[in-house]
């Protein structure tokens, strides 16, 4: 799927917003079905995922292994429901498969497995693995003099893992301007608010100090995401897009509540959430 450059931006934004609502509804149904999952982070990252897969990235859903595809590494593998629902929206996964999320012998593990699901580039789950892998992908593109780009999504609490900063140094050293990191800056991690746990501020300055080009956006605004992710790279520098997001975005009782990091909705909560999301669609 190529970037929809010719489509009128407001129309594209509307389409991405609607797709994001559909992905959230599917993701929450999946978590409810599995009685496991991480819906808070699914919902904070959904708009980023949808913008990438439905517009920004050069991919071919009929040929997910196309060598010249853009790569996407989902470092925050626990947001797998949002990833699988987005892959389905992009035509890379049968929508019916979503109903098997975490079932015995399902292809849809709680954390994604690239050997089971086409379109998944890396096996993640333990945090701090994605950025090093994405750095390797971007290095490979440079070695091969190929034009494809690599995108990677991490959480913000995830950046407490030191391996990210090893990779940050390396990506800057090798001038990987074909690498785009998106940080899902939802300010909540499993145990508490991120800033009450380990203060990540000033996050943008940290990345700038590491030699990265930094862009801050509203991570729920598809127009801002499109501009940040589709824009030309700053030559010689990797890009860090800090997507300011709300954990549990779109559902009143989930928003900004640490309990929904890995909360599972009751039947009534699912119905209310689906209803609220449907109203947002109107």
């Amino acid at each position: 799927m190529s970037a929809t450059n010719t489509e009128e931006i407001p129309g594209l934004e509307r389409r991405l917003r609607q797709a994001s609502i559909a992905v959230r509804r599917n993701a929450l149904r999946m978590v409810h079905h599995a009685k496991l999952g991480h819906p808070g982070g699914d919902f904070s990252s959904t708009d980023v995922l949808v913008t990438l897969y439905l517009s920004v990235m050069k991919i071919d859903p009929r040929n997910p292994a196309w060598p010249n595809r853009d790569r996407f590494v989902m470092s925050k593998g626990h947001s797998s429901a949002a990833l699988y629902a987005t892959l389905a929206a992009a035509g890379m996964l049968e929508e019916a498969a979503l109903a098997t999320y975490m079932d015995p012998l399902s292809l849809l593990n709680g954390h994604p497995d690239r050997n089971k699901v086409a379109g998944v580039e890396a096996n993640t789950g333990p945090l701090g693995h994605g950025l090093p892998i994405a750095t390797g992908c971007a290095l490979a593109a440079k070695m091969q003099r190929a034009a494809w780009r690599t995108f990677v999504l991490t959480g913000d609490g995830e950046l407490q893992e030191g391996s990210n900063w090893e990779a940050a140094l390396c990506a800057a050293q090798y001038k990987l301007d074909n690498l785009v990191l998106i940080v899902d800056r939802n300010r909540i991690q499993q145990g508490d608010f991120t800033e009450s746990t380990i203060n990540m501020n000033p996050l943008g300055e940290k990345w700038r100090a590491f030699g990265w080009h930094v862009i801050e956006v509203n991570g729920h605004n598809h127009g801002e995401l499109l501009r940040a992710l589709s824009g030309p790279a700053l030559p010689g520098k990797p890009t860090c897009v800090i997507a300011n997001t709300i954990k549990g975005h779109g559902v009143s009782f989930m928003e900004n509540n640490p309990a929904w990091h890995h909360g599972v909705p009751t039947d009534a909560q699912l119905a209310q959430a689906l209803d609220e999301l449907a109203k947002e669609e109107l």
Partner: protein
């Protein structure tokens, strides 16, 4: 697999075979690249850096990123040889080895340099005697410990062609040549270096030459020792181990590694399942080594030809007492 052995008088640092083969492969195949953690001189890769600067990645002193970056390179079609001192490469990046390589099946070749107690005097921080126990239990990861420069070259050539993660454990301690130049490495195959039906000596890496010397001493005592090169740690040649258990009176395992979980552990698991017999596991007996050169430490732990001979005789005496 059985081969003729001719032990050379000269000794060789297997890193030279490693690096010459790597450069030869890189010249022939643009997918071959090297990733290091600042370890440019200890891996002997200065020449590679000069010849192939575009395919040489130095991530700095950062092993997690070294292995993760290698996984990314492999996922995009490169064949990265990820090289660093085995003690740091395995211990610091073990989760990346498990997840990014074993679980994800990324086509990365880990080259653990100066393994075992090769860094002798530098102390237990720099010894890598746990790496075999850690790596051999990771599904999909092939683990190989070459015995001499010929096998080092054969393993490197095989590793380039095999699609999947591999851990090659190398030393810097000089060893004699044992194998002939046309040797071809086969994973999962023990190599019989000497026939014998009284006792079996199963060794890997730098200690294979010493096991052969011990077999010669045992021959002088009219004890027939079978010597197997167990370079393929994972997968292991179960049939060869079971045959050694069935056809001899006991097995001695010999490795420059902890006696827990490495070659000795793997052999004990197989024979416990299939054909229990007496086993003597030689190696580092669950301690951090004292200070000393690698030669001193190998002698300290009895990992010499006469130490192996003594252990073999004691095992046969034990077997005779029933």
């Amino acid at each position: 697999m059985s081969v003729e052995v001719a032990t050379s008088a000269d000794l060789f640092d297997c890193r030279n075979a490693f690096v010459s083969t790597l450069e030869e492969m890189a010249a022939a195949d643009r997918r071959v690249c090297a990733v290091v953690n600042d370890s440019v001189s200890s891996t002997k890769l200065k020449g590679f850096r000069e010849k192939f600067p575009d395919r040489f990645v130095n991530v700095g002193i950062a092993e997690q990123n070294m292995v993760g970056t290698s996984a990314g390179l492999a996922s995009a079609g490169m064949i990265p040889f990820c090289c660093g001192a085995s003690c740091f490469l395995t211990a610091r990046a073990m989760e990346q080895v498990k997840v990014d390589l074993g679980y994800a099946k990324n086509n990365v070749k880990l080259c653990g340099m100066s393994s075992g107690m090769a860094y002798g005097e530098l102390g237990p921080t720099h010894h890598s005697i746990e790496d075999l126990a850690w790596t051999r239990v990771i599904p999909n990861l092939m683990v190989v410990v070459p015995a001499d420069p010929i096998e080092t070259r054969a393993v490197m050539l095989w590793a380039r062609d095999y699609v999947g993660p591999v851990f090659v454990r190398l030393s810097r301690m000089p060893v004699p040549k044992l194998l002939s130049g046309d040797f071809v490495f086969e994973p999962g195959k023990a190599v019989t270096l000497r026939e014998g039906d009284d006792i079996a000596l199963l060794a890997n890496g730098v200690l294979v030459a010493r096991a052969l010397q011990a077999a010669e001493k045992l021959h002088e005592r009219r004890i027939g020792a079978r010597v197997l090169n167990m370079s393929s740690m994972a997968p292991m040649d179960r049939e060869a181990v079971i045959a050694a258990a069935r056809e001899t009176r006991g097995i001695v395992t010999i490795e420059e590694a902890s006696v827990y979980g490495g070659l000795g552990g793997a052999v004990a698991e197989i024979i416990a399942d299939e054909h229990p017999t007496l086993v003597k596991r030689m190696g580092v007996p669950g301690v951090f080594a004292p200070t000393g050169s690698v030669e001193f430490l190998l002698e300290h732990f009895g990992l010499t030809a006469s130490g192996i001979e003594k252990a073999a005789v004691e095992l046969l005496n034990k077997a005779a007492m029933g």
